[in-house]
Structure formats: structure tokens, C-alpha cells
């Protein structure tokens, strides 16, 4: 039995991030949208407007929390205060899963607030898997790690990134939030074939897919979430869906955020591509 089946991970359809410029429209008009993802940390607060807004969102839509500050690959002890706040959020939302990134974000007393890549080797696999188990035990719901975009390679790496992702997920028995745009960005920056990555991911563990736009900085590509999804990334998405089947998908747009109709149209594009791809690959939808 695959991970998704074992944990009864639902297919929520295609959603978008719940972001400030759309709060009034979404909470006032309740436009059609399959589901919303929130940045966990923005709602791990004492109360006030963030919590009030989230409460109103929950009245209408499924909501899944996605963190950016767990620093699962860091060498500091896991932050108990952070985990307590995340658990409180999770207990309120009762989402089908929650997620963060396969990365590190700080060391010592410094928090860099970035999703820094990890060296890709067995020691790191063990280090991260051990910490993921603790997080899962603490949260008590399925937990997924997202592959990050990267702009640097470590001397200590001795395996491809997709092997790191797969090994951590297998050893920790956790889910994968598969960011297809991040695959494209890292493949471009490091010169590997993104199709190899797509084909190597254990798809039964993929609980969610991210799509986003990026920015070409000339000598490298930066994951900015500030634009439409590029054609090359749509093609990778179709390839991933063909393998994984009907997996909840999310459009990330966090900078230069467009009008709701533009964002909604991008989600509709993903929805249609997903439908068409699954129709052409009838076996895919049935996969766990």
C-alpha cells in the first residue's frame, strides 16, 4: 500500500495560496477555488486579524498549512516553541497533511529565513529522516517535505538531489510535496535533465504538487513565484501527473501578485491540463 493510500490523502484538486492582496475578495465574494494553502508561520500568531481571516477562510474552503521555517535539515535542535505553535495550528485546521521544505534555514542563533539546500549524501539522509520522524510523531498527521530550488552545490554531495528526496521520504516514511518548478530551476542551474528527476520520484509518496513562475537572471534562474508558470514547467507537470495520478496541485504566486482573475485563470489552466493528462493516461488516476 502506498503512502497516499495508507494515509487516505485526498485529491483536493487545484488551489492557490491565500495571500493578502486577495483577502477582501476571497473572504467577501467566496469565488470558486478548490482549496487554499497558507504559509503556516503567518498564522502561528497570538490572534488578531490573521486568525480572524483564516477562520473565515475555513468556513468555505479546504486549507492546508505549508511551512517555511522548520529548518528540518538544520543542526540546531528542533525548535520546541515552533513545533508547539505548529501543532496548535494543525489541531485547529485538521488538514489532511502539512508540509515544509527539505532544507535548512539557520544555525546557532541566526535565522536566515531562506530555504538553503542540503549536501546530498547518506549522513544527511539519516540526519533529516531522524528529525522528520520526530516532527511527524509530534504533529500526529501526515507530513510532507518539498524539494527546494537551489543555486549552489556542495563538495560533500555524492548523490543526485532526487535520490536525497526519495531516500529521506522512504527512511522517514513521510510524504513529498513535489515542486515541479523547483525541479526545473535546479535542473537549469546545475545542468541536469529534469525528466530524470520527475521519473525518479517515488510517486506514491507525492501528496501535493507545486507550480510557480520563476525569473531568468541571465546566468541562473531564480525561484521568485512572481510570474506565470512557464511552458517547460507545464510539460514537466504533465509528466509528473502521468506518473503520480490525481494529486492536489497548487499555484504559488507570492511576488508581484496579480489580480484574482489572473491567478484563478492560472489555476484553471492547471486543472484543465491535469484533466486532459489523466484522460490520456487512464491508469494514472487509479494509482495510490
Amino acid at each position: 500500500m502506498g503512502y497516499r493510500q495508507k494515509h487516505a490523502i485526498p485529491d483536493l484538486g487545484v488551489g492557490v495560496g491565500f495571500r493578502v492582496p486577495h483577502f477582501t475578495h476571497v473572504l467577501g465574494e467566496r469565488p470558486p477555488m478548490d482549496w487554499f494553502e497558507i504559509i503556516s508561520e503567518n498564522f502561528m500568531v497570538r490572534g488578531g486579524r490573521p486568525i480572524a481571516n483564516l477562520g473565515r477562510l475555513l468556513e468555505t474552503y479546504p486549507v492546508v498549512p505549508h511551512g517555511v521555517s522548520l529548518s528540518i535539515g538544520g543542526t540546531n535542535p528542533l525548535d520546541r516553541d515552533y513545533l508547539a505553535k505548529l501543532k496548535k495550528l494543525v489541531e485547529w485546521l485538521e488538514p489532511p497533511w502539512c508540509s515544509d521544505h527539505l532544507c535548512w534555514g539557520g544555525t546557532g542563533s541566526v535565522n536566515i529565513h531562506d530555504l538553503l539546500p542540503l549536501p546530498q549524501n547518506r549522513k544527511v539522509v539519516e540526519h533529516v529522516a531522524d528529525r522528520v520522524k520526530k516532527v511527524q510523531d509530534h504533529l500526529g498527521i501526515p507530513f510532507a517535505l518539498e524539494n527546494v530550488s537551489s543555486y549552489m552545490s556542495y563538495r560533500e554531495s555524492d548523490m543526485p538531489e532526487w535520490e536525497l528526496v526519495a531516500e529521506v521520504a522512504e527512511r522517514a516514511d513521510c510524504g513529498i510535496l513535489f515542486d515541479v518548478n523547483n525541479v526545473f530551476v535546479s535542473a537549469h542551474n546545475h545542468g541536469f535533465d529534469p525528466n530524470l528527476y520527475i521519473d525518479a520520484i517515488p510517486v506514491d509518496r507525492v501528496v501535493q504538487i507545486h507550480l510557480a513562475g520563476h525569473t531568468d537572471k541571465g546566468r541562473y534562474i531564480l525561484d521568485t513565484h512572481s510570474d506565470f508558470v512557464r511552458d517547460e514547467v507545464w510539460a514537466l507537470y504533465a509528466r509528473a501527473i502521468r506518473r503520480a495520478g490525481a494529486v492536489s496541485t497548487l499555484i504559488e504566486w507570492d511576488d508581484e501578485i496579480p489580480e484574482w482573475d489572473v491567478l484563478s485563470a492560472e489555476a484553471a489552466k492547471a486543472r484543465e491540463l491535469r484533466r486532459a493528462t489523466l484522460a490520456e493516461a487512464p491508469g494514472a488516476e487509479a494509482r495510490p
Binding site: 486579524r49 490573521p50 529565513h113 549552489m152 554531495s157
Partner: protein, 267 residues
């Protein structure tokens, strides 16, 4: 560098350097020990991508929380202050929400910003908005509590205020300046002018109310838990107000505070 914590400490140290890394031969040599360059970027250029993002992200977050301070200091001036702040007090909280918490104190202590008290006071005022936004909720005062208060109970009554309320005694009319900046109006940085005000969460939006000296003297004491009778006596003494005139104002002030949702309980 083989150890994970050693590698991470090196990267963390490098990305916090304000100046670009590639022109520094020592930084380039050190980067080669931990990273492997490729046809697109050398090892030190890879590291510099993260360094650049560190400053864009953190200075950007501070700009968002301190728009009036940015206007007062100008773009380059704000960059200098923000980078000096990040160097003196590196980000340590898991959320960027808390990044600016220590900026008012930094501006009060660190040269050259400490020479002008407007900087720290404006930052203190703007930070109150960040704090009010996600302050815990509290239901408004139950009118039955007022009705049930015996006539002789008022002097001993303590007032509980909404957690979003921050009371500020500032050297400038920061509220007018910030409002003009946010509205995109042409405005000069304010001159020194003692201003007392309160920042709080209104029904749906963040609000600021200017307070007259008597009201401020009273509300700050009540917020510290001083009983109403003693708070009035202290406020009269501080403001040198005529007691009868002061007493005549109290009902109106209290009504205003209640209408704004500041008062949530009487004990």
C-alpha cells in the same frame, strides 16, 4: 569542510556579509572549500546568490513594516540603517514578523541614528502597528459590568484594556506623518512636537487616536493596573490639572475608550 554544522555555519556567516563576495579573493578561496562551481556560476558566485537574497528579503521586510521611517531616512539611508541593524542584531526568530522588534531600541542606541530622537520614536510608533495586527482578541466590555458597579466601587476598579492597545508618548506627530506617507502625499519629515497617542485594532482595521495629556496620563496608569481612584489622583498631579475640571472629563474619555473597543473588562 565535511561536517554539516561546519558547512552551515560557514554559509550562514557568508550570506550575512553586506558586500558582494566575488571580488574578495579570500571569500572565493573559502567558498571553494565547501562548494563546487559549474559552467554557470563559480562557487563564490553561488554563495553570493544567497547573500544577495538575504539582504533583499530582510531589508524588504523591514521596509514593509516601517514605511514612514523609510521615507524619513530615504532609500539609501534606510538601507544603511537596516543593514547596520541586521549586522548588530541578526535575525533570530522563526518568523519575519518579529524582525523589526528590536529596531526602535537599536535606533535609540546606535550612531548616527541615535542623534535624532525622531528615528527611534517613529520606529516605535510603526512597530505598534505590527504588534496590534496579530494581538490576541478580547470581547468588548459587557455593559452589565458597568451597570453592576456600585457607586463606591469605581475608585477601586481596575480597567482591563484590549491587548492590541499600545500607548505612546512621542517626540513627533508620527501618526500624521505615517498617514501622509502611506497615502502617497508629499510630506516633509515632522519637526519635534510632543504627541501622545494610542495604536489599536479597530473593528477591521488598525487605528490610531491622538490623546490629550490628561487622558494619556490617566489611561497609561490604568493600563499599568492602577485602580481608577489612585490613577486619577496621580494623573491630576502629573498634569497639574484642576481636579474638578479633570473629573468632568473622565466620563467622556471612558466612553470614548469603550466605544473604540479599548476597554474589555472591569475588575
Amino acid at each position: 569542510m565535511k561536517n554539516l554544522s561546519e558547512i552551515q555555519a560557514f554559509v550562514a556567516r557568508s550570506v550575512q556579509r553586506r558586500d558582494p563576495l566575488p571580488p574578495d579573493p579570500a571569500a572565493a578561496r573559502e567558498a571553494e572549500l565547501a562548494l563546487v562551481g559549474n559552467a554557470r556560476l563559480s562557487a563564490v558566485e553561488m554563495l553570493d546568490v544567497y547573500r544577495e537574497q538575504f539582504f533583499l528579503r530582510h531589508v524588504g521586510a523591514l521596509r514593509e513594516d516601517f514605511p514612514a521611517l523609510e521615507h524619513m531616512l530615504g532609500d539609501a539611508g534606510f538601507d544603511d540603517a537596516a543593514c547596520a541593524y541586521l549586522a548588530a542584531i541578526p535575525p533570530r526568530d522563526f518568523s519575519l514578523r518579529d524582525l523589526g522588534a528590536r529596531l526602535p531600541g537599536f535606533l535609540r542606541e546606535a550612531a548616527p541614528w541615535s542623534a535624532d530622537p525622531r528615528h527611534a520614536d517613529l520606529a516605535r510608533f510603526e512597530w505598534a502597528y505590527v504588534d496590534a495586527w496579530d494581538a490576541p482578541d478580547a470581547p468588548p466590555l459587557d455593559p452589565a459590568k458597568i451597570a453592576a458597579m456600585p457607586e463606591d466601587g469605581w475608585a477601586r476598579a481596575r480597567v482591563v484594556f484590549h491587548p492590541s492597545l499600545t500607548l505612546l508618548d512621542l517626540c513627533i506627530p508620527a501618526h500624521r506623518y505615517r498617514a501622509a506617507v502611506r497615502a502617497g502625499e508629499p510630506v516633509e519629515p515632522p519637526s519635534l512636537e510632543r504627541t501622545m497617542c494610542a495604536v489599536y485594532m479597530g473593528h477591521e482595521t488598525l487605528e490610531c487616536a491622538e490623546l490629550e495629556p490628561g487622558a494619556y496620563a490617566l489611561v497609561t496608569r490604568l493600563a499599568r493596573g492602577v485602580p481608577l481612584g489612585a490613577a486619577c489622583e496621580e494623573a491630576v498631579a502629573e498634569t497639574r490639572a484642576e481636579p474638578a475640571a479633570f473629573e468632568a472629563e473622565i466620563g467622556g474619555w471612558f466612553q470614548g475608550w469603550t466605544q473604540r473597543g479599548w476597554v474589555v473588562d472591569l475588575t
